[in-house]
């Protein structure tokens, strides 16, 4: 039924070794032989069996991607960056959603090992010790994309979240605000809790503004949370006049929350976001935001992974990409 390398060998009057050489671009084949084999391959529509190949060569040209939730734009953008570079280097991707559940992450790693992937790109909010430990003993290279490994044992690609948050808040302060809220995604995420929050605190501190715990809210990373959080904060005796939002959805929620109460942005409140997805331009006012280069983080992670898979020498596994801020109309 299916045509094998053996069929090709027979038809072309050569050994399977020679067919294998032709298929794999081994230069030690006489041009005339190569052509003869290639012709037969085309005639028979021979397609090498990647599974057999994987067994024999111990390479599957497949990488595993563990992602919290592909239906979340944030991660989908990362995934696209990963996939594009993977394709460029002829790898396929096995994609699995973890929903941030550690137990599932662990299990997915085992599953990927079983499938004999050549490497793994992993995204997660939080790298527990157990996870970190398991990854350290991985049989194949792993790169963390947009995910922090505090021990810095696993290769990873990120931006300087602390500095970016710091700059954003500084911007708000420069615009005259003293009551600045930090509406964050869940603090179970190391990036939110440790890095962005630290940047926020650093900026306040530098200006001699005392941290007011009432102005810091860590919730789900969603539009509705933004809406609610605005409402909560606007009822404070001394409400904030500016918001540093952890994501675009949160920022939009805040803006609509304000608008629903008859207030306007940026006149009554200024808002700055941290993400700059496609959404940032799809609101009125459009969002001023720190731009997180999601696609690039994915792409660079995959590129880094190819280096490890090729056993190339990598000088520094902890890659920090540049970021920038883009000013639109949610700030003055």
């Amino acid at each position: 039924m299916t045509v094998t390398i053996y069929d090709v060998a027979r038809e072309a009057n050569v050994s399977m070794a020679t067919v294998s050489r032709v298929v794999n671009g081994n230069p030690n084949v006489k041009p005339t032989t190569r052509k003869k084999v290639l012709d037969v391959i085309e005639r028979l529509e021979y397609r090498p069996n990647a599974v057999a190949r994987g067994l024999a060569s111990k390479k599957t040209t497949t990488v595993g991607v563990i992602i919290p939730d592909i239906s979340n734009v944030f991660y989908a953008e990362l995934a696209r960056g990963i996939e594009d570079i993977a394709t460029m280097y002829r790898y396929n991707i096995i994609l699995s959603n973890s929903d941030q559940r550690e137990e599932k992450e662990l299990q997915l790693l085992d599953n990927m090992y079983g499938k004999q992937v050549d490497g793994i790109v992993m995204m997660s909010d939080q790298v527990s010790e157990e996870l970190q430990n398991k990854m350290s003993h991985s049989p194949v290279p792993i790169v963390l994309a947009g995910t922090l490994d505090e021990m810095k044992e696993i290769a990873s690609v990120n931006i300087d979240y602390l500095q970016a948050a710091y700059e954003a808040v500084k911007h708000l302060i420069a615009n005259g605000h003293r009551r600045i809220a930090y509406i964050s995604g869940p603090f179970s995420s190391t990036i939110n809790k440790k890095f962005k929050f630290e940047g926020y605190k650093k900026a306040l501190e530098e200006e001699g503004i005392a941290l007011d715990e009432d102005l810091v809210i860590a919730t789900e990373d969603s539009y509705d949370s933004g809406l609610e959080d605005f409402e909560t904060l606007s009822q404070l005796a001394d409400p904030p006049t500016a918001f540093f939002a952890g994501s675009d959805e949160l920022a939009i929620g805040i803006i609509h929350g304000a608008q629903d109460l008859g207030k306007s942005v940026p006149e009554d409140y200024e808002v700055i976001s941290f993400e700059n997805s496609k959404l940032a331009r799809m609101v009125r006012p459009q969002l001023t935001s720190v731009v997180l280069p999601l696609y690039d983080i994915g792409a660079v992670s995959m590129r880094l992974l190819t280096k490890y898979m090729n056993k190339e020498n990598v000088e520094d596994g902890q890659v920090i990409l540049p970021y920038r801020m883009i000013e639109r109309n949610s700030t003055k």
Copy 2:
């Protein structure tokens, strides 16, 4: 280095046949033996090599997913539905982006065949004859998700787009409109050109409203297109008073286009969308929309595929899912 089935057999004092039976849940194994083997498996951290298994059994428990663009929310939602059901049935997913380029779709199919996937879920705007032909001769089952196969030769999961569009436009007419624009995504998509457009025409016709080509615009499926299209149409001598938008992004573009000109929705213009993504609630006014059950389409497609892969009997490969309309504030 790696522990094989052979190691387990030796340690457990049984034959590899027995280990294989245990691993594959064959019932003909005495409980005590099963336990003994399981213990050794755990102790040795034996993990069956899926590649070897795939070669021997000719099943890889992997399915291919060909998607236009995973970073597009629309498809990401579909993908999530596919993945969830795949996981439920213990399949992994190899995901590849086609960018709607037929040449790439063809090539990806070959690639997936080479990887010996057990089945394929495919999404595309348009199924050309060549593609349709290639799929008909596929060595493994294929299901189209949210994708129309006009020949109805390939299994597929969809909603009744024509009827849904018809209803949406009827709704606008019922609200008193006679000048109703259809702002569509690209007409290269069969669904847009043939189905939604037909539904639009049918509704108009039924009410004796002549089709005005000026009111039909097929552009890119983006926010910016919506913005532009609104501008274009508002400059008409006899501009539309209502819009039937092919997607949420388009609808939001239209609304913002109107608002940027000092008009308001739904007072000056009514808008109805066709998608109901998360975005639909993230605008003011919130979108009235036909709700496309993207996640379900993905999930049902994958479920259908499992049936084909199990060689179960499928009564009808052309599945039509129900849809509904949700009224929010972009219509009165």
